[in-house]
């Protein structure tokens, strides 16, 4: 099979989906192929932009956009330096798409939210879905942490104990926990979320919570309130209780990231993007510094795809965008060079504050997101690189993974949209 398209996007993670949404909006014929789903479905669902101060990594950053401007001056190799020109408009675009699909993302007056995790720690993030956007914890006049008997990996007492220790709550703020029952069995986050779509089950939960509610309390729950982005579970629960409810960030698989992924997929399909998941790109033909054809396989069958512009949104090692063997790493489709340096790839501590070098590996690009070699020369002219495939950022430490994906995906989509006939 041969396929032709204006813009081919390889990868269905956040950066690929953003690129698809933007290129399609500009009237291009867009095709998105991916081996599997992206990391966004494993993420908290929040869009991290920049977490901590450059000079003092223990201080939460109050103004991520300003901090990124400073970052670009001191570290011009950081992916943000390539997308700074569109950073704000990309965030606006992202929020508009979310809004249009009835799944709004909220910002915290331009600063970082400080949102509780299931462990009771607080993590900074820039944009949060409405169901997670819990304003200032200092202002809260009571907290009730609600867990479900059926769900493993969420322990209200742990959350409460650590939240108390963190010192963000007012000293006299009551902090209680409660275990409710959603009907028995042992459930995964997805199965529980499905069960909660049933209003009868929600009513039963409401009955169990009501006697424990103190005036003014907010409720913290695991991220299981609704299967899909258009679900009404969180809203209904809050209305029936007469108290605000929030989902906290939890380990994957957590629903908010999955909802964002579903919503964006739904959005791009609705905009005419041809989406093919379960199709692996194995290689490409390049002549005169242009990619003429991409070679893919779907269910064992070869497919050739030609496109004016190819956007490489294949992520990092996790999804196979980068591959490695001892001492050597490379990009898997175009064999673009990946600098590995001479140091060890990983730090001794898994949770090292310095971060792991392998997270910083990736493709070097110019300001048009085209891959470049050591001398800055463009390697392939009609290919652009986005997201976790870009070299130079350390997202788990810097808290910028989804932010880089949004901005670079948007920019690639925009540039692809400007390519003439």
């Amino acid at each position: 099979m041969n396929k032709y398209t204006d813009v081919l996007i390889i990868g269905a993670g956040l950066s690929g989906l953003m690129a698809a949404a933007k290129a399609a909006e500009q009237g291009k014929k867009v095709m998105l192929v991916a081996k599997g789903m992206g990391a966004v479905g494993l993420s908290s669902g929040c869009i991290d932009l920049w977490g901590y101060n450059l000079e003092d990594p223990n201080q939460v950053c109050q103004d991520p956009l300003a901090e990124i401007a400073r970052l670009c001056a001191v570290n011009p190799q950081h992916p943000y330096a390539r997308v700074r020109d569109v950073l704000e408009e990309s965030l606006l675009f992202f929020r508009r798409v979310c809004q249009e699909n009835g799944y709004p993302y909220l910002d915290h007056r331009g600063g970082n939210w400080l949102l509780p995790t299931a462990l009771g720690t607080l993590r900074p993030t820039y944009l949060a879905p409405a169901s997670m956007a819990l304003g200032d914890l200092q202002q809260v006049r009571g907290v009730l942490v609600v867990g479900f008997r059926e769900l493993k990996d969420f322990y209200p007492d742990v959350l409460a104990a650590n939240l108390k220790k963190s010192g963000v709550l007012q000293a006299n703020c009551p902090l209680n926990t409660l275990m409710v029952c959603a009907g028995g069995g042992e459930l995964t986050p997805n199965t529980l979320a499905h069960r909660l779509e049933n209003p009868v089950v929600v009513d039963r939960i409401v009955d169990q919570i009501k006697p424990h509610l103190l005036p003014g309390a907010v409720l913290l729950l695991p991220p299981v309130l609704g299967e899909r982005w258009d679900s009404q579970v969180a809203k209904n629960l809050a209305e029936k209780l007469g108290h605000p409810v929030y989902e906290v960030a939890n380990i994957p698989p957590a629903l908010p990231g999955q909802r964002l992924q579903q919503m964006l997929l739904h959005h791009v399909k609705g905009r005419g993007v041809e989406v093919v998941i379960g199709c692996t790109v194995n290689g490409a033909r390049v002549a005169d510094k242009r990619c003429t054809e991409v070679l893919a396989t779907g269910a064992g069958k070869p497919i050739k795809i030609s496109a004016k512009t190819v956007i490489l949104a294949t992520g990092s090692f996790l999804g196979g965008g980068l591959e490695s063997k001892p001492g050597k790493a490379w990009e898997s489709i175009f064999r673009l060079p990946v600098e590995t340096g001479h140091e060890k790839w990983s730090a001794r501590d898994f949770l090292s504050m310095a971060g792991h070098l392998f997270n910083q590996m990736g493709i070097k690009v110019n300001e048009h997101l085209r891959p470049v070699d050591k001398t800055g020369e463009v390697i392939i002219e009609n290919v652009m690189v986005t997201g976790a495939n870009l070299a130079g950022c350390n997202h788990p430490i810097e808290k910028c993974g989804n932010g880089v994906a949004v901005a670079s995906g948007y920019k690639a989509g925009k540039l692809a949209g400007e390519v003439g006939e």
Partner: protein, 404 residues
């Protein structure tokens, strides 16, 4: 990618993406899920084949897990083998043996299709079948056609384009929905291409899904040999059923290690075939206006074929036609799955999203390539459901292909 690699356990990074996309694991806690039944337990099965979780019978073989896995693990193939192992140890219930032989049921129904249809609709009989066999009384049965496709098909006189096309209709079209095969012949005749047909064995998917792998393997070998014969004589092979298509091309290779490479270039979904014609500028794009809005449901096995939605490009050429993607995931029927008493409720719960999407879009007609999806969507929503080919044949101008 070789099937060894796809089966390799160590590729699994335990991300649980497959679990969060499994339509069954989403709605019931009776199923241990793709990761556990797949790569997790496969590790033990390598040593001890009996280490099969009985809940593996709850997998619908929709292949959603394979599609979403970022590491390319063939989770569903592991599940299929495990189920085969389970069935060979514990035997299959009579009900499963009956349901798995859609070809035999079709042949039996040939004797008196109207009578069979009438009996299949009788409530007391349905209740009896539920009690005795475990076939859900609530699910509607597919209706048998008065004549099979092979009986009805008459080669049309068309100009010679030098193209040779063999059609693999599959059991459902042959026994239940011959109009789809006739629509195919109509559309190809519109392009001056004559269709050849022949009696094939069932592709074997219902057998595979019910764990009866040995019989399926025998049929696979016979089918492949026959298809190879046509390929050798310069034929392209077209299919209209995504499940037959995927089974012939992928399952034969992944489950039975048969060489299906020759099929990759030569066997196409009929809309892929038409797309090739379009690309070569050889598709006759003279279509009548069809002022219609339809909802499109993408069958899981079409998704799993990794070829996108081939019908989309062609249907876009029909003036007046508006196709809205339902984008609602699996319909839940999964071939024989939803007919089983203990699984009916699960299948309906999965299909709920399809129901919601049809309601939300307010469409009165829907299209889908898979006959079983068509049945389920009709059962869930009451709307008329067609194969996209029927819409295309209608636009080609001859006959009433959308009458139901």
């Amino acid at each position: 990618m070789s099937s060894d690699y796809r089966l390799a356990l160590d590729n699994c990074i335990k991300c649980s993406i497959c679990v969060s996309h499994c339509p069954v694991a989403r709605v019931t806690d009776q199923f241990a899920g793709p990761k556990q039944n797949g790569p997790d337990l496969e590790r033990f099965r390598l040593e001890e084949p009996a280490a099969v979780h009985p809940s593996v019978g709850y997998c619908t073989n929709c292949k959603g897990c394979d599609v979403v896995c970022p590491s390319g693990v063939a989770v569903s193939a592991m599940n299929c083998r495990a189920r085969g192992e389970y069935v060979s140890m514990h035997g299959a219930p009579l009900r499963d043996k009956i349901l798995a032989r859609v070809d035999r049921m079709g042949r039996a129904a040939r004797l008196a299709p109207s009578l069979v249809n009438r009996l299949a609709g009788l409530r007391p009989l349905r209740l009896l079948a539920e009690k005795m066999l475990g076939i859900s009384a609530a699910m509607i049965m597919p209706r048998y056609a008065q004549k099979t496709f092979l009986e009805l098909y008459k080669p049309q006189n068309v100009g010679d384009t030098g193209r040779k096309v063999l059609y693999y209709p599959g059991c459902y079209v042959n026994y239940n929905a011959p109009e789809v095969g006739l629509a195919l012949a109509e559309v190809l005749a519109h392009n001056n291409i004559r269709v050849e047909v022949e009696q094939f064995d069932c592709c074997g998917l219902p057998l595979i899904a019910n764990g009866l792998l040995d019989t399926a393997r025998d049929q696979a070998k016979k089918n492949l040999a026959k298809l190879q014969g046509y390929i050798n004589r310069g034929y392209d092979i077209v299919t209209t059923c995504p499940s037959c298509h995927l089974t012939l091309r992928q399952e034969y290779r992944e489950l039975f290690q048969l060489n299906t490479d020759p099929l990759h270039e030569k066997m196409l979904d009929v809309f892929e075939y038409l797309s090739v014609l379009l690309q070569q500028g050889k598709l006759v794009t003279r279509f009548e206006e069809l002022p219609l809005q339809v909802g499109y449901h993408r069958p899981c096995h079409l998704k799993a074929a990794g070829c996108g939605v081939p019908s989309r490009e062609i249907l876009q050429l029909i003036p007046g036609l508006r196709v809205a993607d339902l984008d609602a995931g699996c319909c839940g029927l999964a071939g024989t799955y939803g007919f089983k008493k203990e699984k009916y409720a699960i299948s309906q719960a999965i299909g709920r999203n399809v129901f919601n999407a049809v309601k939300e879009l307010g469409v009165r007609q829907a299209i889908s390539e898979c006959g079983m999806c068509q049945l389920q969507i009709h059962h869930l929503t009451g709307v008329a459901v067609y194969h996209p080919l029927q819409v295309l044949a209608q636009a080609c101008g001859h006959g009433k292909w959308l009458a139901k």
